[in-house]
Symmetry: C2
Subunit: 358 residues, 2 copies
């Protein structure tokens, strides 16, 4: 162990360039010996993120051996699994092997955990040459070790859920936690309206991409937090049928989330505009439509990584729209436990996830 | 006047392509006859936005005649002044020539106004060939007409301020209005702390780029809204001296807003972390540093057009930072009047603006 002071952000593990955070580093120190506030994980599976795996598979024309060789090379060179082109990583599953005496994460040796911070900032060493992986999927069986810093996030896998289901849920768990917080805050601020239809008492919430993973969890979270009318927007009739059958939304609307007028008119016809609009569709161009579907004084929460900051900022100004726009932070304290709890309590969410798992 | 139903968003003025909003249109209908909810302005000056003018000047190697010819061509082709490369426009000053009977904007014939929606969505016709413009600056003396829709924003120029000063203020007036709203909402939520130093009772606010136009207005707005300690961050000693002399901030810090540790340590030493961090510096890479300079449960407001949505979203997650991140909406009701009022009430802000005007 070096004498360098440990940093909860992992700065002591940054080798190149000096002074940047682990995510921005080109090379981390992946040695297995831990600093007093760190945790070492015995790795079981890496889950490469979809954008990263797609880039690698396309570059090597689907040649699994070449993909595997490049992943091994990246980890050996960088000390972490960060795709140099996409900049993204993924997450991993493993077992806690050692806990430093000053670790604040509350983990114990033997806990089976998923890391909820990106692989793009997690020190990683591999020892099995990824021999059990054919390079043909994002799920990588692996042996080796990974390091968690003082300020990392890891969640113990629950005993009562299939680990693959739990992983899918944890992957998008920031969305329901933030939606619940936004809806709760509006419910608190909103004076109760006596004599109105109970379903109209809470804020109206519209989720674009309501049948997807983060979308269905967001609908369940909004209901849980006291929302009134729930509107789910989906791109075609097949998804509409699924979402209708689930009962997660009060109104299901088929509309193109990129069409400014089409979307806002469809949402209006379903009881909108929305007090809270949640964008869970990963296509560009949804900023102005989402803003137009939202009531004056309302809030738009952008979870889509296809969101353009400028399109949102200038789009609202160009429409003279007084809406609060939130960048969907993937971290809210307790987010994983809350999302897993929703999956347990709301069978319809679990069914949607299990259908997607195929 | 056509029989097409007017839309407050100006959709009836979109010629190509069909179904998009005026900002996304390649061609608008700029005819001077107005629909019942529209207003026609006699144009006096166009203010091209900085990014657009720079692109034109560089393309034509500073040849003013060529720049003028291209601006004329853009307006003739598109029916609006939207730079096809940058996508941006600017704003204009003029006099109200006609007000439709259903216009909700509250303007009267003869009012001298500045438009606060972008030229990139404003129907525009020019009649003087821009003969009084040498093509060598962003300020374009012009004759012609422009159209405001039902849902446009225009502000009457105040009698008591130099129009050039008023325009500079209006150009960034979204920032102080939103900062004041965010700070007020925290002051309301925060229980009064008896017996503490009064200056520490309100939230601590840190403004990155505190000596700039939107930055100095944001500092003044935060003070006005009840902030406690105000920290202004600037990139070098010359700006620090200016900001210190102004008295707008309680603490002035020289730091690189792109350096994660440097910034957060400097802000901490000045009394941080901040409850509210306002990003007003137009350089990329300030997302994680701003997040690290903000307290848990705090808010980051991004006004910089150099903000990356993904860097903010993934950056907060990677730091396990429980911060609320706002996209700086350029529109808040009453924003122009509020910013002008700050300039009148806070002489230090006015002096900073007048020094910049040079």
């Amino acid at each position: 162990m070096s004498t360098l002071d440990p940093s909860p952000l992992g700065l002591h593990r940054v080798r190149e360039p000096q002074g940047v955070l682990p995510q921005a580093a080109t090379r981390l120190d992946p040695r297995p010996e831990i600093w007093p506030d760190e945790v070492r994980i015995d790795v079981e599976t890496l889950n490469l993120d979809a954008a990263s795996y797609r880039q690698l598979a396309e570059k090597h024309h689907g040649d699994g051996n070449a993909v595997r060789a490049e992943v091994l090379d990246i980890v050996a060179t960088r000390g972490k699994m960060q795709n140099p082109v996409t900049g993204s990583g993924g997450m991993l599953v493993g077992t806690v092997a050692e806990v430093g005496p000053q670790s604040p994460l509350g983990l114990a040796v033997g806990d089976r955990v998923a890391t909820l911070v990106s692989l793009s900032l997690t020190p990683l060493g591999l020892t099995d040459g990824l021999e059990r992986w054919d390079g043909l999927s994002e799920q990588v069986p692996a042996r080796g070790h990974a390091i968690l810093f003082g300020r990392s996030i890891a969640a113990v896998l629950p005993d009562d859920l299939d680990p693959r289901l739990a992983l899918m849920v944890m992957d998008v768990c920031g969305a329901p936690a933030l939606v619940a917080r936004v809806v709760r805050s509006r419910v608190k601020d909103q004076a109760p309206q006596e004599g109105t239809d109970p379903s109209r008492r809470g804020p109206t919430v519209c989720v674009l991409g309501g049948a997807g993973k983060s979308g269905s969890l967001s609908l369940a979270a909004a209901r849980d937090a006291g929302a009134g009318r729930l509107i789910g927007v989906v791109p075609h009739e097949a998804e509409a049928a699924t979402l209708r059958a689930s009962g997660l939304a009060d109104e299901v609307v088929v509309a193109d989330a990129r069409a400014p007028l089409g979307l806002s008119e469809a949402v209006r016809a379903a009881g909108g505009p929305a007090d809270v609009t949640v964008v869970c569709v990963d296509v560009p161009g949804c900023e102005q439509p989402a803003i137009l579907a939202t009531a004056d004084g309302g809030t738009v929460v952008f979870f889509s990584m296809a969101t353009s900051f400028a399109a949102a900022a200038l789009g609202a100004e160009g429409l003279a729209a007084d809406v609060t726009m939130l960048v969907g932070n993937g971290y809210v304290p307790g987010h994983a436990a809350y999302a897993l709890d929703l999956v347990r309590r709301v069978p319809a969410v679990r069914e949607l996830f299990e259908a997607r798992r195929g």
